[in-house]
C-alpha cells in the first residue's frame, strides 16, 4: 500500500496521502512526519461522520473534494477503504484524479488480499475455539508382537 501512496508524489503539489479502513482506522500513510498518527483516528472518524451525514442527499458518496484556503483534500471512498490525498491548491486536479484512479486499481487487489488474509486468520482462530484439538486416542487393544517386532 505504501508503494501505491508514494506514487502520488510524482504529481507536483501533492503533500501526502493516507488510507483508512471502513471503520476509520488508519491503514497506511505517506504523510510528513510532523503529522502524528493520533490525528488520523480523529480524521477518519470525522470523514465517516461526513459520509453518514451527506448520505440522504448524496447516496453512496464515492468522492469528496474539499478545498481549504491553501490545500485541497481529495477523498475517494470504497466499501473496503478510503483513499485520501492532500495537495496544494496549485495541483493539477485532473492529473491527481487520474492518479487516484490508478492507485485505486492497485489498491483493489492489495486491499482484498489484506482483507482475505485477515479474515482467514480470524476464521482459523475462531475454528480453534469452536473445535478444540482432539484428545490423544486411547488404545484399547494391546499391539501384537512376534520376535520383538510389531505386527499391527
Amino acid at each position: 500500500m505504501i508503494s501505491t501512496l508514494v506514487a502520488f508524489k510524482d504529481i507536483p503539489g501533492v503533500f501526502g496521502s493516507f488510507i483508512f479502513w471502513p471503520d476509520g482506522t488508519l491503514a497506511a500513510r505517506d504523510m510528513p512526519a510532523i503529522y502524528n498518527d493520533d490525528i488520523f483516528a480523529e480524521i477518519g472518524r470525522r470523514l465517516n461522520g461526513i459520509a453518514d451525514a451527506v448520505d440522504p442527499q448524496v447516496p453512496s458518496m464515492s468522492e469528496m473534494l474539499v478545498k481549504f484556503d491553501s490545500y485541497w483534500l481529495l477523498s475517494r471512498r470504497t466499501p473496503h477503504y478510503t483513499l485520501n490525498v492532500l495537495a496544494e491548491e496549485t495541483v493539477n486536479y485532473p492529473a491527481l484524479k487520474m492518479a487516484s484512479n490508478v492507485a485505486m486499481r492497485h489498491l483493489g487487489d492489495k486491499v482484498v488480499s489484506a482483507i482475505s488474509t485477515i479474515s482467514s486468520q480470524v476464521k482459523l482462530a475462531d475454528l480453534s475455539q469452536v473445535f478444540p484439538p482432539a484428545p490423544p486416542t486411547v488404545e484399547t487393544r494391546p499391539r501384537r508382537t512376534w520376535r520383538g517386532q510389531t505386527l499391527d
Partner: protein
C-alpha cells in the same frame, strides 16, 4: 425606544456633502449587510437599518417606516456613521429598496429639493447579489439548494426541506473544519460530493454559505463558478 440589538459594534464614520445618501443605501443593500446607518443633519438625526439586502426599518424621532426613510432621504447634507451587526427588532419597511429610492427621488423632485438622490435606470435593473443565486437555483439540474447567512438566516432556498439541507451542510462544514485544522489547512471554501445518483456542492465565504444538491449531470466546478459572485 430600544429598537435594535447590537451584535458587533464595529463601523466607520463619514460626511456626505455632494456624495449621495442613496449610494450608501445601495451599497448596504448590495452588500447584504446587517447594519444601521446613523444620519445626523445637525438639527435632526435618523437611522436606517439594513438586513438581508433590504432596508428594513427607519426612524427619525417618533416617525418610523417609509415616512422616516423618505425624510432622511430628503436631507441634503449630513454626517453619517455606521454600526455593523446591528439588527432592527421591528420591521417597518417591507418594500424593495429600489422602489424606495425611486419614490424618494420622485418626492424630492416634487418638492424641488436639490438632493443628490438619483433614480435607477429602468432599462438596466440593478442586480441584487442574490439574483445570480436565484438564477442558478432555477436550473432544473439543481434539486435542492440553500443560500444562507452565517447567522443561519435562509436567504434563498429551493426544494421541499431547506432546513434539512441547511443542517446537513452546516454539520459537514463543522466536521471538515476540524479535519482541516488537524491537517494544518485553514478555512473550508468549497466542497464537492459525488455519489451514485446525485452530487452536491457547498460553498462558504463572505459570511454566507451556499449548498446545492444536483443530479449527476452537473459539473460541480462550473456550478461553483456560477454560484460564486460573477
Amino acid at each position: 425606544m430600544n429598537s435594535a440589538i447590537a451584535l458587533k459594534p464595529r463601523g466607520f464614520e463619514g460626511v456626505f456633502l455632494t456624495a449621495s445618501l442613496n449610494d450608501i443605501i445601495q451599497m448596504e443593500c448590495l452588500g447584504m449587510h446587517a447594519r444601521v446607518v446613523h444620519v445626523d443633519r445637525g438639527d435632526a438625526s435618523g437611522r436606517i437599518y439594513f438586513a438581508g439586502g433590504q432596508a428594513v426599518h427607519a426612524q427619525v424621532g417618533s416617525i418610523t417606516g417609509e415616512d422616516a426613510f423618505f425624510e432622511i432621504l430628503s436631507w441634503q447634507k449630513g454626517v453619517f456613521h455606521m454600526e455593523e451587526g446591528v439588527r432592527a427588532i421591528e420591521e417597518t419597511i417591507t418594500r424593495p429598496w429600489e422602489s424606495l429610492l425611486m419614490e424618494a427621488a420622485h418626492i424630492n423632485d416634487e418638492q424641488g429639493l436639490n438632493t443628490t438622490v438619483t433614480a435607477f435606470p429602468l432599462t438596466e435593473p440593478v442586480v441584487m447579489p442574490h439574483k445570480f443565486i436565484t438564477d442558478a437555483f432555477a436550473d432544473p439540474e439543481i434539486l435542492n439548494a440553500i443560500h444562507m447567512a452565517d447567522d443561519g438566516t435562509l436567504l434563498e432556498t429551493k426544494g421541499d426541506d431547506p432546513e434539512t439541507i441547511q443542517g446537513t451542510f452546516a454539520y459537514i462544514t463543522q466536521l471538515l473544519q476540524h479535519v482541516g485544522t488537524a491537517l494544518g489547512a485553514e478555512q473550508v471554501r468549497e466542497v464537492h460530493f459525488i455519489g451514485s445518483s446525485n452530487r452536491a456542492l457547498c460553498l462558504s465565504g463572505q459570511a454566507k454559505t451556499t449548498a446545492a444538491v444536483t443530479t449527476s449531470k452537473v459539473n460541480l466546478t462550473n456550478l461553483a463558478k456560477k454560484l460564486a459572485n460573477p
